[in-house]
């Protein structure tokens, strides 16, 4: 049913214009970054001077950048693993069994969402220093895991709700014991949500700056930390190249996650 009737009304036209302006606003900065990264000269002049891969070469051959990339991937992988397993257990148990403080546990699982990362970071600094384990990569992994757990929790809970008790009950009615039901009915059905949740936690960890900086910023350098530091203390288009790689990588991961969860937007 068409709603796009062409009214010759100034209000309608200005809204249409605003739409395109905002879209441009959202993407132009990223395009500029790409332009800078391909520009042979150190500074982007206008008009541009041509195309070059040199900054990307630098990026992928210097340990200044490769180490942080490695660290980021490692931390992201480990923390998303922990976050997803936490979320899976929490979601499964709470949705299938009556637990005395079930509601409280669920709220606890979602609580990290409400906290600004910087405050969480400070809390971790206090905590890890107090127990004497500062600046380790394990700290970072755990921090990210706990902090990002709400996201796979949301996705898996939503997936479980869609599966519904009836499928599982009918499996039991046909003779499957609870463990078998879990293995053959429930888990396969939420597999996509689990994967998407893990991917989400991965992406978030990869892109996270402030908690990483506070918890282990001087000892474990992740990609965002290296980017930030380079901004402060030097200027090089390699930063732009790293950013573009970051953008593309994140975009690919998000597309994958979106595919799996069939639309992430609530």
């Amino acid at each position: 049913m068409g709603r796009g009737v062409r009214y010759r009304d100034p209000v309608v036209w200005s809204v249409r214009l605003a739409f395109w302006v905002v879209l441009a606003f959202l993407f132009v900065p990223l395009v500029i970054l790409a332009a800078v990264s391909f520009h042979p000269g150190r500074f982007m002049t206008f008009p541009p001077q041509g195309l070059s891969w040199r900054w990307y070469e630098t990026l992928f051959t210097s340990s200044q950048w490769l180490d942080p990339i490695r660290n980021s991937l490692l931390v992201a992988f480990a923390s998303s693993l922990i976050a997803t397993t936490m979320a899976l257990v929490l979601a499964l148990v709470l949705s299938r069994y009556p637990v005395r403080f079930g509601g409280a546990f669920r709220r606890l699982g979602m609580l990290p969402l409400l906290l600004p990362p910087v405050i969480m970071g400070v809390a971790y600094v206090a905590f890890f220093h107090a127990i004497g384990f500062s600046g380790r990569i394990e700290n970072l992994i755990i921090s990210h895991a706990v902090f990002n757990a709400p996201f796979p929790l949301m996705l898996i809970s939503a997936g479980l709700n869609k599966v519904g008790k009836e499928l599982e009950e009918s499996a039991m009615n046909l003779g499957a014991r609870p463990g078998v039901v879990l293995r053959t009915v429930t888990l396969p059905l939420i597999r996509a949500d689990i994967f998407a949740g893990a991917l989400l936690a991965f992406i978030l960890s990869l892109n996270e700056y402030i908690v990483a900086f506070l918890v282990a910023g001087f000892t474990v350098v992740t990609l965002p930390i290296e980017l930030f530091a380079s901004l402060r203390y030097s200027y090089s288009p390699v930063i732009a190249a790293a950013s573009v790689v970051f953008i593309l990588g994140t975009a690919a991961l998000v597309a994958m996650a979106d595919r799996m969860a069939g639309g992430l937007w609530d």
Binding site: M1, G2, R3, V5, R6, Y7, D9
Partner: protein
Amino acid sequence: MSRVDLVQVTKTYPGGVKAVDGVSLTVEAGEFLTLLGPSGCGKTTSLRMIAGFEQPDSGKVLIGGKDVTRVPPYERDTGMVFQSLALFPHMTVLDNVMYGLRMRRVPRPEAEARAREMLALVQLSGFEQRRPHQLSGGQRQRVAFARALAINPSIFLLDEPFAALDAKLRDELQVELRRLQQRLRITTVFVTHNQREAMTLSDRIAVMRDGRVEQVGTPQEVYEEPATVFVAGFVGMTNFFKGRIVSKEGVYVRVRTEEGYEIVGRLPAPNGAPPDGLSEGAAVTVSVRPEALRLTESRPENGDGAGANPAAGAPGIPVTVDMIRFVGELVEYHLFTPSGQELICTYQRGQAALPLGQGAKAVVRVEPGEARVLWR
């Protein structure tokens, strides 16, 4: 009170779907016309074109003789009731009904008085300060009527307003709507896919399919003289027989069906024939309404019965009774012919002559003059 004209209106959606394909229609001033058809036939699109929410790709829309094709909806003199009712939840009933008047800059006291008048007309006096979510479905429906009519439009448009109501409420509201419309004598265009509703409410019905109007006529015309096979099948129940013309006898046409029976019927009036007439041997479909099939006992001496040559003697179609349904005021007989075709025959309760049971053998005859021969 104005007339509405759709003149050769076409609308194609991206993807090539022709929602409305060269529709020309006139709604006379003060008339209640229903656009009837299955989903996707273009009836709602046509209605929305009258309201101004769709622009035809070609053709014209005239209200009161004036070309309003390019006029935006808020400048047209139409009052519309939407399928979802679309009552404003953040306003009271009174504010809802006053809305159109306020938009026309009618001073508040006057607008309020008129709104109260309308609410009284739909028997909702006393409900002015309620909000939509506090009303029952039927009450909301009537607020929607009041709101659309408060602005005193020349055209009243309704898009399947009763679709989600249960049968009883639906019947009651249909009666109310008709009464309202007749009292105000307002030109009304109504859209529905429910043929009984169309027949109950309308002065005339336009039966639509695939973006085209197949027939326009009074409920009686559309029912008794369907112009096409589609109309015959869509409006009410009917039995179809495919066959070829054997001979013509004045206005009557003798058709031999595929199973070999002969039925005498006539072309639908008026002008039911193609421009250059129908020749013998032409392929046609005969439509016989269930109430035009009469059941009689099988009489072998008349040549009835399975295998008998029906062309000889008094022709009848042998059938076996499969199921008998009692539907309140009607009794429905579901019958099978020897070749497996299902026929439906209905009698008024109390007039069912034969004490037939399931599996009984009988013969059906067509009431003279009731069969319609359709060539398209």
